[in-house]
């Protein structure tokens, strides 16, 4: 049973955001990694890239498929997780922790709070699963 940290925020495209002040950390959720299967490649933007919420941030490729990652918030990419180049499987193993993907300096520090909280996200994915 996946744990969705209650201090994170989530999107319907299965990204998570963890923020403190104007610095946000972004990754994809356990639900997303489970849907994808074994991840073999993570494509991330360059440091310094300006992001708008909803824009394509990067991509994830698994054995069976590939998926775009969308920026959940607007800002500038200040750090990317280079460990994912050599060890993409971290996305499957620890999607909410060690497999963080980018850190963004937020344009609007209040933006993450407007996203889904853990309970709302879990309700959202539960509804998806029962409709399947």
């Amino acid at each position: 049973m996946a744990t969705y940290p209650t201090d994170y925020r989530y999107t319907r495209e299965h990204e998570w955001v963890s923020s403190k002040g104007d610095l946000a950390t972004v990754g994809i959720t356990d639900y997303a990694q489970h849907e994808l299967g074994d991840v073999v490649y993570v494509g991330l933007p360059e440091v310094g890239t300006a992001m708008k919420a909803g824009q394509i941030l990067g991509s994830v490729e698994s054995v069976k498929t590939m998926s775009d990652i969308y920026a959940p918030v607007s800002g500038t990419v200040v750090e990317i997780n280079s460990e994912l180049t050599a060890a993409p499987e971290k996305v499957n193993q620890d999607p909410h922790g060690a497999a963080w993907m980018v850190r963004i300096k937020l344009s609007d520090a209040a933006e993450p709070a407007k996203l889904l909280d853990a309970a709302a996200y879990q309700a959202f994915i539960a509804e998806k699963d029962s409709a399947a």
């Binding site: 489970h34 299967g37 074994d38 490649y41 490729e61 054995v63 069976k64 499987e89």
Partner: protein, 372 residues
């Protein structure tokens, strides 16, 4: 098109077992099948280094019986079934009159008057009708027997060691593509040394009511040796690494035996069969295109249906493309103009609008170490 509800999909006898094991399920040609349990990579690697257990009960079985059984089989298949002795099987093609594939299949000779054809899941009913419509032999009766069989594949270097204690059949005397009737855990089975992974292994055909018993017994026996249950995801990556064709991808009604580079299953001198005339003509003319394997040169992954170009000119599409977990490369197969088929030749794969470099490599990508 909306997907049919799971209730409308066909199910094997092990459906609830797969769900209990936490398998991710998928609609495969109208069947509710497991695509993976622990993950495609772990299942693929287990099969290459230890063993994998696959529920392939969705595959079809067609039985042909009678004094003219061989004549019927010969008339609709490309390989020479007359060369089979009792207890031997061969890979073959069910062809249309253009020399293209209606299906690929295994032909097992049980006796001179009894053949078992193992055909693909999605094509089994069509294949049955196709052969039946061409059965002009009073001494050949056919049965669409898929419902009477479950089928498990136990594949990998440890498959023999895992299966041997469960059967009195002397497995090490069973050569590749040989089969015998025997018992596994007291269940009557056709035990065939065949498979679709490129590894040593066995395919077991038996009556469906024994499915859970056999599945559980094999898993219990094999887990200490590293046996994992494996789904269709690993089945696909394994057969692709081994250069094996998949109907609906490398093979279809428009691809001839020569184009698919499967000349070894086409025996023009065995007598008349559907498609023979077209194949004789094409052999004389030469093929325009041929199936090749390729390897991606950089990090991009080619997927099914990606465009293929050579020196900027589009030449076709990827028939199968995927990462290869054991080889740790990204590979694929495609039809290219025959003039371009040289190993090492550069091609480009169109991946979401970008041309990714690749090069043609000989098939198969992976070959297991020869057994002692």
């Amino acid at each position: 098109m909306t997907a049919p509800p799971t209730t409308q999909l066909r199910k094997t006898a092990l459906n609830s077992t797969h769900r209990r094991l936490g398998a991710k399920m998928v609609n495969f040609g109208g069947w509710d099948m497991p695509i993976e349990y622990t993950g495609i990579i772990s299942e693929h690697m287990a099969t290459r280094t230890a063993a994998g257990l696959f529920d392939v009960s969705h595959m079809g079985e067609i039985e042909v019986r009678g004094t003219e059984a061989l004549a019927l089989v010969q008339s609709v298949t490309s390989n020479n079934a007359a060369k089979l002795g009792d207890g031997h099987a061969q890979y073959s093609g069910l062809l249309n009159d253009r020399g293209g594939f209606v299906d690929d299949l295994l032909v097992h000779r049980i006796s001179e008057t009894h053949y078992l054809l193992c055909v693909n899941a999605g094509t089994q009913d069509g294949d049955f009708e196709y052969i039946r419509a061409r059965n002009r032999f009073a001494g050949a009766e056919m049965e669409n027997a898929g419902a009477r069989y479950s089928q498990l594949a136990l594949q990998g270097p440890k498959a023999l060691a895992i299966l041997a204690p469960l059967t009195k059949t002397p497995l090490d005397a069973l050569r590749y593509y040989q089969f015998e009737f025997g018992e596994v855990c007291g269940v009557e089975c056709l035990i065939a040394r065949t498979g679709y992974t490129g590894e040593d292994g066995f395919e077991l055909y038996f009556s469906p009511e024994h499915s859970e018993k056999l599945w559980d017994a094999l898993l219990d026996a094999g887990r200490p040796a590293g046996l994992l249950p494996c789904g269709l995801g690993a089945r696909n990556t394994l057969r692709l690494e081994a250069g094996m064709r998949l109907y609906g991808h490398e093979l279809d009604e428009t691809t001839t035996v020569w184009e698919a580079d499967l000349g070894w299953i086409c025996k023009l001198d065995k007598g008349e069969f559907v498609g023979r005339k077209a194949l004789v003509e094409q052999k004389a003319r030469g093929v325009a295109r041929i199936l090749v394997g390729f390897e991606m040169s950089e990090r991009q992954i080619a997927r099914d249906a990606c465009g293929v170009s050579i020196a900027g000119a589009p030449v076709g599409r990827v028939t199968s493309g995927s990462p290869a977990p054991f080889l740790k490369k990204n590979i694929g197969m495609a039809y290219v103009p025959v003039a371009a088929r040289a190993a090492g030749a550069q091609i480009e794969i169109d991946i979401r609008g970008n041309r990714a470099p690749a090069r043609i490599v000989p098939l198969p990508f992976y070959k297991r170490a020869p057994s002692q």
